[in-house]
């Protein structure tokens, strides 16, 4: 336990080890650590940025969805309106067509009735003439009685 040269030797060894540590040990570890710290910080930063981006994108998507929904409902409404309009138009057309057909039919019927009436009249007058001929057993001069017969037919 004497104080001797070991004291100086130990001091020199100490100085050498410290120098070696400063020169070769400290820098690589320090660099690696700080670089890793930076990378982790960057990573966290990127993650937070990404989550912010995601939020924005979600918001955008929601807005687009809302807009398209609104558009769809507008289109639907328009279609409804258009279809009801079309139905209305068709109904109107059908009604007009029906009326026209009915009117035509009525006109035809009238025409037919008149023709029938005329024919009937003619037949009746001939029948009456024939009847009268039978009754009188003589021929009636048609020309002489034409006036009378026409009067009769008009009365029918």
């Amino acid at each position: 336990m004497n104080i001797n040269m070991t004291l100086i030797g130990q001091t020199i060894a100490f100085a050498i080890f410290v120098w070696f540590c400063i020169k070769y040990v400290w820098p690589p570890i320090s660099n690696a650590l700080h670089e890793r710290q930076k990378r982790i910080a960057d990573g966290l930063d990127a993650a937070s940025r990404a989550s912010r981006d995601l939020e924005v994108a979600q918001e955008k998507a929601e807005a687009t969805l809302r807009e398209s929904k609104q558009q769809a409902s507008e289109i639907l409404e328009q279609a409804h309106k258009r279809s009801s309009q079309m139905v209305e138009e068709a109904r109107e057309q059908a009604r007009a067509e029906g009326e026209r057909i009915v009117a035509q039919a009525r006109a035809e019927i009238d025409q037919e009735v008149n023709r029938a009436k005329d024919e009937l009249r003619a037949q009746v007058s001939r029948l009456a003439v024939t009847g009268a001929e039978r009754v009188l057993e003589a021929s009636i001069d048609e020309k002489a009685h034409r006036k009378l017969l026409d009067k009769l037919a008009a009365e029918l």
């Binding site: 100086i8 030797g9 570890i29 690696a32």
Partner: protein, 275 residues
Amino acid sequence: MAAGNEVTATYYIQHHLQNLTFGRHPENGWSLAGSAEEAREMGFWAIHLDTMGWSIAMGMLFIWLFRKAGRYATTGVPGGLQNAVEMVFEFIENLVRATFHGRNPVIAPLALTLFVWILLMNTLKIIPVDYFPELFMRLGVDYMKIVPTTDPNATLGMALGVFCLIIYYSIKVKGAGGFAKELSLTPFNHWSLIPFNLVLEVVGLIVKPISLGLRLFGNMFAGEVIFILIALLPFWAIWVLDVPWAIFHILVISLQAFIFTTLSIVYLSAAHEHH
């Protein structure tokens, strides 16, 4: 080694506390000391081969481990050794950042070297006290005290290194005049009290490395003596005391390394401050 009588017990303790000394003996010239008396007679011009050898071995181990971790240090996910090294590294870096107020790229590596080196040297103490002396005895070497920090030369040597840095940075930061002024005009700023201040400050300055070295030496030496005393007990009783003492010493070992490092940083920090 259960010793029955007083003489062998004393011899055993003295033997375990004797360093392997190489030096210039007045009669034998440059030689290994064969006994404690011879070692004493060698005076200053002697060197403790075991202290130097083991401390340099531990220093090399430190440099090798940390250099290896540093070389393979990647920015990716660290492995086992690298994790351990980085843990120590960050511990020291934070300690220096919290304690040292100033800018000096030397302080942090210095603190790392001190802490790990002292920790490794102290850890040698966990090895049972008989292993290496016995082994070297068989190899023909009389003495082998493997824990360098139980040698005051080693602890005071490191403290001397720190002391030189204190003086160097005091002069570098404050200038020779500023340093002299600090020594002579504090704590009492009056010309008539300069001698008084000088005595006070110089004593305070010199006490720093001495207390630094002796604290570490004292703790380690006391622990070592207890280990040797425990080893003198009958073999079946040794582990009952040895195990708790060794477990307790895991705390002492790291605590003393930490105290030495922290105080060195504090002293160097004070050397950088203007008063």
